[in-house]
């Protein structure tokens, strides 16, 4: 087991142990802290085995297009078409504090990036620029890699509006 896989394994086990021992409210609170923590660790060297068939999609550098390289695991409406950008929520909406993650390949610099996908919440569906890409996406039992559930679930108003894709850092990897 490579060290990053072991790191993933241990992290997941720790999260499960935490979940078993905490009330839901406490878990949400601590999960928020953990996720906040991930934002200050932008160079976490994670690469999933299924970075996937990025080659199947013609890459784009236009954030209003589903083919934009950062959107490799977005299933929803693009906030860039709804008054926001690829990494900001439209006016009057709230970002989701919890999120799913993925790794996208940027064909313009040849690097893989660790992405945080967040939903923007508090208004009904934007309805513009539907995007459904699922590279590395996993079923709901792998919740942190799942883009099906409503990630606005923990917001005061969990009404889903649109989705953004935020670069957390380079996903460094040992090339085979």
């Amino acid at each position: 087991m490579r060290w990053e896989e072991r790191f993933n394994y241990l992290t997941e086990r720790a999260t499960r142990t935490l979940a078993r021992g905490l009330s839901r409210r406490a878990m949400l609170s601590r999960l928020g802290l953990i996720l906040t923590g991930t934002l200050v660790l932008p160079l976490l060297p994670v690469r999933r085995g299924s970075v996937a068939d990025a080659s199947a999609v013609k890459p784009s550098d236009d954030p209003t297009q589903c083919e934009y390289w950062k959107y490799c695991a977005i299933d929803g409406f693009l906030c860039a078409c709804c008054g926001g950008s690829s990494h900001s929520c439209p006016p009057g909406t709230d970002r989701s504090p919890i999120t799913w993650i993925g790794t996208c390949h940027n064909p313009f610099d040849g690097r893989d990036y660790l992405m945080s996908y967040n939903d923007c919440c508090g208004k009904t569906s934007c309805g513009s620029c539907t995007c459904n890409r699922n590279e590395g996406e996993r079923p709901m039992y792998r919740l942190s890699l799942n883009n099906d559930v409503n990630w606005c679930m923990a917001n005061d108003n969990p009404n889903y509006h649109c989705s953004v894709s935020v670069v957390l850092g380079v996903a460094e990897t040992a090339k085979p």
Binding site: A19, R24, N134, E137, Y141, N159
Partner: protein, 387 residues
């Protein structure tokens, strides 16, 4: 002079036409006055009726459950379903439970999560039970809301993101509490008081409840899949004795939930050596007709990340021999990809397909012959179920 003659002739023709029309009208009796009324459904419903889950993706606070008559290719009625609803039909087929979310001011204001009970014979809400604001909101499956076989309890999936199964006592109309599902998802009811979910570890978790809806025991199955190699879809397909789970690569994992000891049956593949590029995908992946021993699966050519892509063909299997018995191509240029597959349960079954272009295709489930196609039944028809 010529112009005056022409105008005179026009007046003669028009006047004559008007005279003849008045004469004819005087001989045809007028329409009878109509009486405003409300339609009533023929109940029990035809076995070719189907409930179509329309998530209304472009305006998700307004999802619907549409009652569709596949014999006559028409809508029979509608149930309003709110935001990201979870639905289940009661075992006696008289009611539909819809767990949903409303806000007091449309998309904002005070939030209420509630289970509404709809009478299938009148398509009206007959009662409700208010839920904690913790229910799972996501694309539909058959197992986000479920009745116990005796209809004493209703189970509602919670996700906050901690996963739990909320138990509702339908006798007292009260929420009993949550069962911690340890991160496992879906709630497949079996026996009298057992729920089973699928876990990241590749196992199934089963929890048995007592007569008051409290947990008395839990057990884990053996590992039957590895999500790092070949993830299993959560959209389980019901069988007479349990469910099957399909994997992204087309493995069929059948689970027998009919006895106290859960049995994992040997896996088999939808694919032969010659068709390794094909995969199942979409939202409602397939359906089983129990009496005819047929499994229908929507298949596409894809790779990693294509698991939500709809089918280009329907592949038909004998569930006893595990042999493919038919491949039915779909004109996806005309109709779109197949995102949901459903089969009626009667002796003359219809296969009903919902597509990415929001069309409803009805096929003879024995021959694959395409019957009429219906447009405009809903905005995003993602799931179907027998009422």
């Amino acid at each position: 002079m010529a112009i005056k003659c022409k105008r005179f002739l026009q007046w003669v023709v028009c006047g004559g036409g008007l005279f003849l029309s008045l004469c004819a009208a005087s001989r045809v009796p007028p329409l009878a006055a109509e009486t405003l009324s409300e339609e009533t459904l023929q109940f029990p419903l035809s076995p070719h009726s189907v409930l179509i889950y329309d998530e209304a993706f472009n305006n998700e606070t307004d999802a619907r459950l549409i009652l569709f008559d596949a014999d006559h290719n028409r809508k029979l009625g509608q149930m309003d379903a709110g935001y990201y609803p979870n639905i289940t039909v009661a075992p006696d087929h008289r009611n539909v439970a819809i767990a949903t979310t409303y806000w007091s001011r449309g998309g904002h204001g005070a939030r209420t999560d509630v289970i509404e009970f709809w009478d299938l014979s009148s398509l009206r809400v007959t009662s409700e039970i208010v839920l904690p604001s913790t229910r799972l909101q996501g694309p539909p499956t058959l197992y986000h809301l479920a009745y116990s076989a005796d209809q004493r309890f209703l189970y509602s999936h919670a996700l906050t993101p901690a996963a739990a199964w909320t138990v509702i006592d339908l006798k007292t109309r009260q929420v009993v509490g949550d069962v911690d599902s340890d991160g496992c998802v879906q709630m497949i009811p079996s026996l009298t008081r057992r729920l089973t979910g699928i876990c990241e570890s590749g196992r199934l978790l089963s929890v048995t409840l007592d007569e008051n809806g409290h947990e008395v025991s839990r057990q884990l199955s053996d590992v039957f899949f590895n999500d790092a190699v070949d993830p299993v879809f959560v959209q389980a397909i019901p069988t007479p004795t349990g469910v099957i789970f399909l994997s992204h690569h087309g493995q069929v994992h059948e689970v027998d939930l009919s006895t106290a000891a859960i049995k994992l049956l040997p896996a088999w593949s939808l694919r032969t050596v010659a068709d390794q590029a094909w995969r199942p995908g979409g939202t409602q992946l397939g359906a089983i007709h129990a009496a005819r021993h047929r499994l229908y699966v929507q298949m596409h050519i894809g790779g990693n990340g294509s698991h939500k892509e709809g089918g280009k063909e329907i592949w038909v299997y004998d569930t006893q021999s595990h042999q493919r018995v038919a491949r039915w191509p779909v004109n996806t240029q005309l109709y779109g990809d197949v995102i949901a597959t459903h089969v009626t349960a009667d002796d003359h079954p219809l296969l009903i397909l919902a597509t990415s272009l929001s069309k409803i295709l009805t096929l003879d489930a024995v021959t694959g012959r395409l019957l009429p196609v219906k447009d405009g039944v809903g905005q995003t028809p993602w799931y179907m179920v027998n009422p």
